[in-house]
């Protein structure tokens, strides 16, 4: 890998071959593309949860807030409300976004918060040594259930579609260019966007073979919600990747504040005090 302006000095500590490299590279490429579309790099703000995925925060030279497990999507919602001019992206793990943080995901979708969530879905709690996660297959063996997971996995995308997500996509870390386009689209989408990224963990859930065989690019979003739900569940014979759903709807911060920007259009102290004096 050649040195990129988005690289930091942090040592990359992912396992060789980890799917997270694909996501990192796709994202860096997406930032270039976004700059070509007029999105200034300085206004792209990142956050992440805790897990192998979260390390991406250290590897991208963009400002942001390295959050805690399951909360990066709440963090970026706060950032967005604080300054709606910023583009905010939360990186999350499957444990992070669909386990600890599932409530924030559902409500971000419900209120159409203008954020992008990129989920590194490796079907395991990787950094804590491979316990089953909300998307682990039944039978998946991890140290907290050595005889195999006894729960069926969630389908997070159908859940988020039901919750009101306006942009829903699936990517595959090994299809880097495709993923990078998805990221651009998701960030450009005004409203809640989520990309569930199939991310092989070479140590705990090596799905390269499976997804290399099954991944199938979908070129057009479904026409309606029902179609999108069908599409995201159509994973028996194949594994569709691409944008499944993309609709427009007024975003939360505009419903909340119109064009007001709390950190940039702050009322002056004098004006504020005048208002208070009217009351007291």
């Amino acid at each position: 890998m050649t040195k990129n302006v988005l690289d930091t000095n942090a040592e990359i500590t992912w396992c060789p071959g980890c799917g997270n490299f694909g996501i990192l590279n796709a994202f860096k490429k997406a930032v270039d593309k976004l700059e070509n579309k007029g999105v200034n790099r300085d206004s792209i703000i990142i956050s992440s949860g805790i897990g192998c995925h979260g390390k991406i925060f250290d590897y991208i030279k963009l400002s942001g807030l390295y959050s805690i497990h399951g909360r990066s999507m709440a963090t970026v919602q706060g950032i967005k409300i604080g300054n709606p001019n910023l583009k905010v992206i939360a990186f999350a793990g499957d444990g992070d976004a669909y386990g600890e943080g599932i409530a924030h995901m559902i409500f971000a979708a419900k209120r159409n918060a203008d954020i992008t969530v990129i989920v590194h879905n490796n079907g395991a709690y990787a950094l804590t040594t491979g316990q089953f996660s909300p998307t682990s297959k039944k039978g998946f063996k991890g140290p907290s259930r050595p005889e195999g997971n006894i729960e069926d996995p969630l389908n997070p995308l159908s859940l988020l579609l039901e919750a009101g997500a306006t942009f829903v996509a699936r990517g595959y870390s090994a299809k880097m260019d495709h993923l990078s386009d998805l990221i651009v689209e998701a960030i450009m989408h005004e409203g809640f966007s989520v990309i569930d990224v199939l991310q092989p963990s070479v140590v705990f859930n090596n799905t390269y073979k499976l997804y290399n065989e099954k991944a199938e690019i979908i070129h057009k979003p479904a026409k309606n919600l029902d179609g999108a739900i069908k599409l995201v569940k159509d994973t028996k014979q194949r594994m569709p990747i691409g944008v499944f759903y993309d609709v427009r709807k007024l975003v939360f911060h505009k419903e909340l504040m119109g064009d007001w920007n709390p950190s940039q259009n702050k009322m002056s102290r004098n004006e504020r005090l005048k208002k208070i004096n009217e009351f007291v």
Binding site: D42, Y66, A74, T75, G82, A103, H104
Partner: protein, 550 residues
């Protein structure tokens, strides 16, 4: 009683507007430039049960309601049974003769109310009409009050109040001469004072999930935020509340959250996050009797110790608690300033008795400061730059510079580290910041001392008001030392009071302030007066207890 206090109690079912009537009465007294204190007592239900509101007023400063009233108005039998014992000698008891069998003056409040829509909800207005009669207000003035205070059904309310006024006038007439005070006053609830205080210090966003007794602050901003330029957000749960507020602070937005004990539990992980990333967020924690769900709509000070070390790990924490409603205004503003100056989370600790009571105040918003952090000027930027005082300048996005806030232990740039030396250095940085904070607090007012009597009464929070009023009532000579700041604990202010004869007054069962005083200052109070039945102290009662000791 030294000063002339007039006390008014109105009792009825939830939904009959007794709380509203109490607030209207308080505003009315304040309009007369009279000092006033108003307290609401209500169980956790929406309609029925027993609610009451009590208002005490005087021409001189008053810090508490009294539980002996000059005028009691009761709308139902349960209220009658409870409040008939709350009359002073020669006090007037007016009851709703349609619902109550008892002694005193009966007026057919319900039968009159029946003539209007929402007959249940308007009965409280009768309380205002009766009060007007008793203090000699004419109908014109009464109309003004009703127009100003009641948003809906104004005509009904006026007609209804006139009918009640007429019956009351016939039966009781004017009884009290109300002297006007001299100072322009306004009656504010503790929650309003907190809201205005935060706004005065430059608050941009208030995040909260409803939880008694912090909810009124949420409602305050929901109602007045537009005018004040403060955005109000109610997310899905308290975890989102705290994490969103932290996110907002990253953009430079001054943010604050509000909750009660149970909700604050859920915020602690974010509180620790704020400590690590050095995010300035103000947490308002309103106490009610605990543990757990406890008694949601009553008052207690059971979370003092709980509030001192929230969130895992070591970082500077600030906890302060206002002793009256005026102070709630200034202290909230001060804490918002402190969190931005020291980039660390703080707790504004209060309790139902302050947040949901009202008091006449005279507030000067210009005496507050606008919360301002140290900001990065030019050159290379390191979010966690090591400085002499532990405070690293802030910079907000968008910026050409890299701004990394990091929940992991980090280097100066904000990148994750596991290096032993760096870990220790960043610990030292945060400890240095704590010491800077303590040095700063030493120059501030961290305790209030009232009076100059020999024995000392230690207290904190809203109990300060009860104690001050009790001393006034009992004519007791004592000094009251109110701990405003509780974390860092202002030991430096207390050394000179160490060997004075003292007692502690607080509203909890295990004596938490007493324990802190013993632990931190080796102060061994000779007696501890504690109340933990969910009700605030009655100053009369408290005065007797204090006199027993001194």
């Amino acid at each position: 009683m030294k000063k002339e206090v007039l006390t008014y109690i109105i009792g009825g079912k939830a939904g009959q507007g007794t709380k509203k009537a109490g607030i209207v009465a308080a505003n009315f007294f304040a309009d007369l430039k009279r000092e006033v204190f108003q307290m609401n007592d209500y169980p956790s239900l929406i309609r029925g049960g027993h609610n009451f509101s009590v208002v005490s007023t005087s021409t001189s400063k008053i810090y508490s309601h009294y539980m002996k009233a000059d005028l009691v108005v009761v709308l139902d039998q349960r209220s009658y049974e409870i409040h008939k014992d709350h009359l002073v000698d020669e006090g007037i008891l007016v009851f709703n003769s349609d619902k109550v069998k008892g002694e005193g003056t009966g007026i057919g409040i319900s039968s009159e109310a029946k003539k209007y829509d929402n007959s249940d909800l308007i009965e409280g207005v009768a309380g205002i009409a009766i009060l007007a009669v008793v203090v000699g207000i004419d109908k014109k003035k009464l109309d003004e009050i009703i127009k100003k205070e009641y948003g809906r059904q104004i005509k009904d309310n006026i007609n209804f109040s006139h009918a009640i006024y007429d019956s009351a006038f016939e039966k009781i007439k004017k009884r009290f001469e109300l002297k006007q005070g001299k100072k322009k006053l306004v009656s504010l609830s503790g929650s309003e004072a907190i809201g205005f205080g935060a706004a005065a210090a430059g608050l941009d966003i208030y995040f909260a999930y409803p939880m008694t007794p912090s909810t009124p602050v949420l409602h305050f901003f929901a109602n007045n935020g537009k005018k004040l330029g403060v955005v109000t957000v109610q997310p899905e749960n308290e975890i989102a509340v705290a994490n969103m507020a932290i996110g907002a602070s990253f953009t430079g937005a001054r943010s604050m959250v509000g909750t009660s004990g149970g909700g604050f539990c859920l915020m602690q992980e974010a509180f620790s996050l704020a400590g690590m990333i050095e995010s300035p967020v103000l947490f308002f924690l309103g106490q009610r009797p605990g543990p757990s769900t406890g008694v949601p709509t009553y008052t207690e000070q059971g979370e003092l110790l709980y509030s001192l070390y929230p969130g895992q790990g070591e970082f500077p924490r600030i906890v302060a608690s206002p002793g009256n409603i005026e102070e709630a205004f200034y202290l909230t503003a001060e804490l918002l300033n402190l969190v931005w100056r020291f980039q660390t989370p703080a707790i504004l600790l209060s309790e139902k008795h302050l947040t949901e009571s009202s008091m006449s105040v005279s507030i000067n918003p210009n005496k507050t400061n606008w919360a301002q952090p140290a900001t990065h000027e030019k050159g290379e930027y390191n979010r966690y730059k090591q400085t002499g005082n532990g405070i690293s300048p802030l910079l907000f996005p968008p910026s050409k510079r890299l701004i990394k806030w990091n929940s992991y232990e980090h280097d100066e740039q904000g990148l994750t580290t596991e290096d032993g030396n760096l870990i220790a250095k960043m610990h030292d940085k945060r400890r240095t910041k704590l010491h800077s904070l303590i040095d700063y607090l030493k120059k501030m007012k961290t305790v209030n001392i009232y009076g100059d009597g020999k024995p000392v009464i230690f207290t904190f929070g809203s109990t300060t008001m009860s104690v001050l009023e009790a001393l006034e009532y009992g004519g007791i000579k004592a000094s009251v030392i109110q701990l405003v700041y509780l974390q860092p604990f202002p030991v430096w202010e207390l050394n000179e009071h160490k060997y004075r004869e003292s007692i502690v007054v607080e509203q909890n069962c295990t004596g938490q302030l007493e324990q802190l005083l013993k632990d931190k200052c080796e102060i061994k109070p000779v007696r501890s007066i504690r109340q933990y039945d969910g009700r605030p102290f009655d100053p009369q009662n408290l005065a007797y207890k204090i006199m027993e000791v001194f």
